[in-house]
Symmetry: C2
Subunit: 160 residues, 2 copies
């Protein structure tokens, strides 16, 4: 099953982290924006795990890395990363997770495991198309969407 989302599958995780940073730098350069130290560290923190971290978790780790430890430090960096498409907010968890396909314009769909807390971002074109169709029927114009499923990941399905 090598088509599984990374979050649910063993993999060489150093790739995720390394790639994530490199892609962010490249994209930001094109936009004349900067991946400053706090932002970079914040992205690294999120990339370090395939799950969502609360802003205060991120803040703690930033503080350990020598940055300020007041909430706005974390929230500002997270807001920047979300705006630029390198992270998403998982609303069910009030938490943030690194984006798995930065650069591509996309509406994220999250699969959240309630046992192991893994968060996978999964291909969404069909879901998004269905949502757009439903909205169209209602005369509604979609600007942003959040689609989240809570349940059991393949690794925890047996365990439950």
């Amino acid at each position: 099953m090598d088509h599984l989302p990374k979050a649910f599958d063993a993999h060489d995780h150093s790739h995720c982290a390394g790639n994530g940073i490199a892609q962010a730098e490249e994209i930001l350069a094109k936009r004349n924006l900067r991946l400053t130290p706090v932002r970079r560290q914040t992205l690294e923190i999120l990339l370090a795990e395939h799950r969502a971290l609360g802003a205060y978790d991120v803040l703690q780790r930033l503080a350990k890395a020598g940055f300020g430890n007041q909430p706005p430090v974390a929230y500002r960096a997270l807001e920047f990363l979300v705006e630029q498409g390198f992270a998403h907010k998982v609303r069910r968890l009030n938490a943030f997770t690194a984006c798995m396909h930065p650069g591509q314009d996309h509406a994220p769909v999250f699969l959240i495991c309630r046992l192991c807390d893994a968060v996978a971002e999964t291909p969404a074109a069909q879901v998004r198309a269905a949502l757009d169709a439903a909205a169209l029927a209602a005369g509604f114009t979609v600007e942003r969407s959040s689609i989240e499923a809570l349940g059991l990941c393949p690794n925890c399905t047996g365990a439950a």
Copy 2:
């Protein structure tokens, strides 16, 4: 356009409120559960508007109606209504809205207007099917889902 969601269309709103309460009573009777005064009032508060209300908004209105004015009063009533399927939580807004089709098992899809704050619950079978398909491909079992779109309702599309 009489197929529009109620939230986006002028309508005799007394129907929504009256029906909502009646349906809730009927369903709860079957389940041997009680629509107590606080719960009833809370549902009426939500039914009074086609938008989402924060728990503290609900609490204020409950207090005016003579109920306790501490947060747990509102949160408990809301939790009950959500569990029983008479209300939903709109996560993007950290707010609650009355369910438009209680009794039917359904995964809600919300269309949230960012200008007038209207919240419409729209038919979701297709969206839900697409989400299930995506989850299946990832080996994920969906238990609950929240699907929300932010944008412009038909009444505000022109105005923007």
